[in-house]
């Protein structure tokens, strides 16, 4: 056959490609459009056993032959309701090969299936014998599954000439072929087109139903295996809840752990597993809210079994979301950690007991060491200060060194005790209103002798106008002295140590203090280690004999107890800088515990100033101490605050009291007057009491109002201290 003829023959295959698309648009499972169907699912969807009934029924009703093909046009299984002419031709054939199963004549393969799958619409083709068929595509979303072919019918009255040619070609009786052809009722291509569309609708409806059935079966299978998996977990309670916290499923582990059987608990709120206190504190709701907000929530705490017995649970709640859409519910995994907790508690108790033993031992040792140390200290200083006569320069030098060693020993004894306090959680700080510049100056004064002995110069730089810090002055001095001494230790003669104080760039609630040296520096791998207990980077013989290597460890603990941070920046050979942060003094923080809604609802806040004026020669410090104690007795701890004396400008020292409530001033002032009358030294002092009352707006005080009151008190305090505007 010539190629020219092939083209002509081929063109005859396609009678029409209908522009309509009634067989699509069935709203078929849209979500499948983007998913790749597995070969297994494809073959399940086109399972012949399932399709045979609908195909047979259709074929018999419309009197056409019907068959299913895959997406390559290959026929799947038998042709249903095969028509007589086609059957006669096929009886003599042992297989048609790869061509269209419904075309009798050979030639180029029929492209009706390909066309239908490509356009998504039924495509009709007619072979040379005049037999017509329609290919109806089967689409699942955009996935091409295959096609249904229906036909093997003449679209008009059969032509004897064509049939004789066919009979000759296939070696069958022309007469017989003609008789069979006349028995077949012709179906016009218009009717065939309409039938194809009907077939498309039917086919897709069936396909959709089948797809649903398969998914459901799979889901049931998955659910079943998931469920048996969950059921099998016995050491964990696994259960699910609806969005309100009502239990929707309950595994055997949950039954074992919590005591409820599934039938009893499903439908009940999971809060029944919480302790009454937790329920009162709305913990169940809080946990669900957190899980909803962040996806999950974790917690450890007491939970209650059905028999009211409590156990320590570790709980993980996960929010179940539908494609990041609305919440479907929550899943909970719960583990009984009672035993673990017991073991952890026992270990912690043992650790504490060991630490206490160690503390007792060290405190005893420290006590015993301090007694002889004190005698040595007194004798050394007595001689050094010339109480027993003059000294030669050499004697003085030797005794000075002895005194240095006494001080070192004293510091080591203190460090030993501090370190045990860290372990027994007894290392505490007592913060007060303090000036970082003053603390730095004091620390530098202490270290001056040491530095001078090594010919190291000490410098300090403080940015102007720095706010006060809220810190324990003794402890901050200890930190600074530790860092400075450390710097001296590792800096060669002629070097410099600089101590600075500035605002902390990362958080304006803190100041950042730093101690820089021009010493040997710290290698990167040692930078974190230096803060560890007993860590000391051994570098010089001298360094290794001074100190226990506890200084930085204790410093870090002290900084942490001030809510600060400590770190080091260093380059080998270029020196190190140790930084630590301290919180800025804040009136708001100090007053926070009395500025509660309940206290402020009383309607007013009174600021009371007690100015202590010395008659002559300054104010005696012990009297200030006494006055502070008197004032502490005069206030109501839950409603009032005694502020730290914020001025050390003589001859007036002012104590401020912030009092909440209407009775504030009169009650406190009369109390102060009465108490001071009993005070021996009162006659030599003139405490002047003055006050200002701020009104709090009615209603529930809000945060901004509290901020505003705090700010106004702060201004009044500053104005009073500076003498600009005294309270009346």
């Amino acid at each position: 056959m010539s190629s020219e003829a092939s083209v002509r023959v081929n063109s005859e295959y396609l009678l029409s490609a209908s522009p309509t698309h009634s067989s699509r648009g069935t709203g078929l499972v849209d979500e499948s459009s983007n998913i790749e169907l597995s070969p297994q699912l494809r073959s399940d969807l086109l399972d012949l056993d399932a399709w045979s009934e609908i195909l047979t029924t259709y074929g018999r009703t419309i009197r056409v032959a019907v068959a299913l093909t895959d997406s390559n046009g290959r026929q799947l299984g038998e042709c249903q309701n095969a028509q007589p002419v086609w059957r006669l031709i096929h009886e003599g054939l042992s297989g048609m090969g790869a061509g269209c199963p419904f075309c009798i004549t050979r030639g180029l393969p029929c492209t009706a299936v390909a066309e239908a799958l490509h356009t998504g619409n039924p495509a009709i083709a007619r072979d040379q014998a005049g037999l017509t068929h329609v290919a109806v595509p089967l689409l699942l979303g955009k996935q091409r599954l295959g096609a249904i072919i229906a036909g093997q019918v003449f679209d008009r009255y059969p032509e004897p000439l064509s049939l004789r040619r066919v009979a000759k070609e296939f070696g069958v009786s022309a007469r017989r072929l003609w008789e069979l052809a006349r028995e077949q009722r012709p179906v016009s291509s218009t009717v065939l087109q309409a039938s194809g569309e009907l077939l498309g609708v039917l086919g897709h409806a069936f396909l959709r139903q089948r797809y649903g059935a398969i998914l459901e079966a799979k889901l049931a299978e998955t659910n079943g295996s998931f469920r048996s998996l969950i059921e099998g977990v016995r050491d964990y309670a696994l259960f699910t809840m609806d969005p309100t916290g009502s239990v929707t499923s309950w595994n055997r582990g949950a039954e074992r752990m919590l005591g409820y059987v599934e039938a009893d608990i499903v439908g009940r709120n999971f809060s029944c597993t919480f302790t009454p206190e937790d329920i009162q504190n709305r913990l169940p709701e809080k946990q669900l809210r957190k899980a909803l907000r962040t996806g999950h929530s974790e917690d450890e705490g007491w939970r209650v079994r059905e028999n009211r017995k409590q156990f320590w649970a570790s709980v993980n709640i996960t929010a179940l979301l539908e494609n990041a859409g609305p919440i479907r519910g929550f899943a909970i995994v719960m583990h009984d950690a009672t035993e673990q907790r017991k073991v952890a508690n026992i270990l912690e108790e043992a650790r504490q007991a060991r630490a206490r033993l160690q503390e007792n031992f060290l405190s005893h040792v420290s006590h015993e060491l301090r007694t002889p140390l004190t005698a040595i200290y007194f004798f050394t200083t007595n001689v050094l200060d010339g109480l027993l006569g003059d000294l030669t320069p050499e004697q003085r030098e030797h005794l000075s060194l002895a005194l240095e060693n006494v001080k070192q020993l004293k510091d080591m004894v203190s460090d030993l005790l501090d370190i045990t306090r860290v372990e027994t959680h007894k290392l505490t700080v007592e913060p007060q209103h303090a000036s970082s510049a003053k603390l730095i100056a004091e620390a530098l004064a202490t270290c001056r002798t040491n530095a001078a002995a090594k010919n190291i110069s000490l410098r300090s730089e403080a940015a102007p106008g720095l706010p006060f810090v809220w810190a324990d002055p003794a402890r901050v001095r200890q930190i600074l002295i530790n860092l400075i001494d450390n710097g001296i230790k590792f800096t060669p003669a002629g070097g410099t140590i600089t101590v600075e104080s500035r605002r902390f760039a990362e958080d304006d609630g803190f100041l950042c203090l730093s101690v820089s040296d021009t010493g040997c520096g710290i290698s990167p791998e040692n930078r974190e280690l230096v803060f560890d207990r007993l860590a000391q980077v051994k570098s010089t013989a001298e360094a290794s004999r001074s100190g226990l290597g506890l200084g930085l460890f204790i410093s870090r603990e002290l900084v942490l107890r001030h809510d600060g941070r400590i770190w080091v920046e260093s380059q080998l050979g270029q020196g190190s800088t140790f930084y630590f942060t301290l919180p800025v003094f804040s009136l708001a923080k100090l007053c926070a515990h009395v500025f509660t809604s309940a206290n402020l609802e009383a309607g007013s806040v009174t600021l009371i100033a007690v100015d202590v004026v010395a008659v002559e020669g300054g104010v005696q410090a012990d009297i200030l101490f006494e006055i502070r104690r008197v004032l502490e007795r005069c206030i109501h701890a839950f409603k009032d605050v005694l502020l730290p004396s914020m001025s050390d400008v003589e001859p007036v020292v002012t104590f401020f009291i912030v009092a909440c409530g209407p009775s504030g001033f009169e009650v406190i002032a009369s109390r102060i007057v009465r108490e001071l009358q009993n005070f021996d030294n009162a006659s030599r002092l003139k405490p002047v009491i003055s006050s200002t009352t701020l009104l709090v707006p009615h209603g529930h005080p809000r945060e901004e109002q509290i901020d505003e009151i705090t700010a106004r008190i702060e201004r009044l305090v500053q104005a009073h201290l500076l003498g600009k505007e005294r309270l009346k």
Partner: protein, 133 residues
């Protein structure tokens, strides 16, 4: 101004010797006692202007001495400074509550210690001196 009298109550004879020299050099008269019982006897007999008290003593600890002193009319108002090797964290507040005017852990800084003694004896000291310590 007549010499003020200070009683040191401590069982460590070396400490007493060293501290006595320091106090005498500062113009005070010094007497001492080495245990809780003789401490009270000496105190009643000598009527010191100030007492420096150790806490760990033979025959009763320093708090016992402090309590006893407060209960006796002639010693009730005598200022007491505690000088002890014990941990200030545990004993500072307790000593103050029992009536001591100051607590020092051994070894004390000479300057701070003498300032406290002067304050306790009612000698006027500028606030600036105190703030320096």
């Amino acid at each position: 101004m007549s010499e003020k009298k200070i009683l040191i109550i401590d069982d460590d004879q070396h400490l007493v010797l060293g501290l006595t020299a320091r106090l005498r050099a500062n113009g005070y008269k010094v007497i001492s006692a080495a245990d809780a019982i003789s401490a009270i006897t000496v105190a009643r007999k000598e009527a010191p202007d100030l007492v420096i008290l150790d806490l760990g003593l033979p025959a009763g600890d320093g708090f016992v001495v402090l309590e006893r002193m407060r209960s006796l009319a002639d010693l009730a108002t005598t200022p007491v400074i505690v000088l002890s090797a014990r941990d200030p964290a545990a004993n500072d507040r307790r000593a103050m509550d029992a009536g001591a005017v100051a607590f020092f852990q051994k070894p004390p800084d000479n300057h701070e210690f003498l300032t406290a003694i002067r304050l306790a004896l009612g000698e006027t000291i500028a606030l600036s001196t105190f703030l320096k310590t």
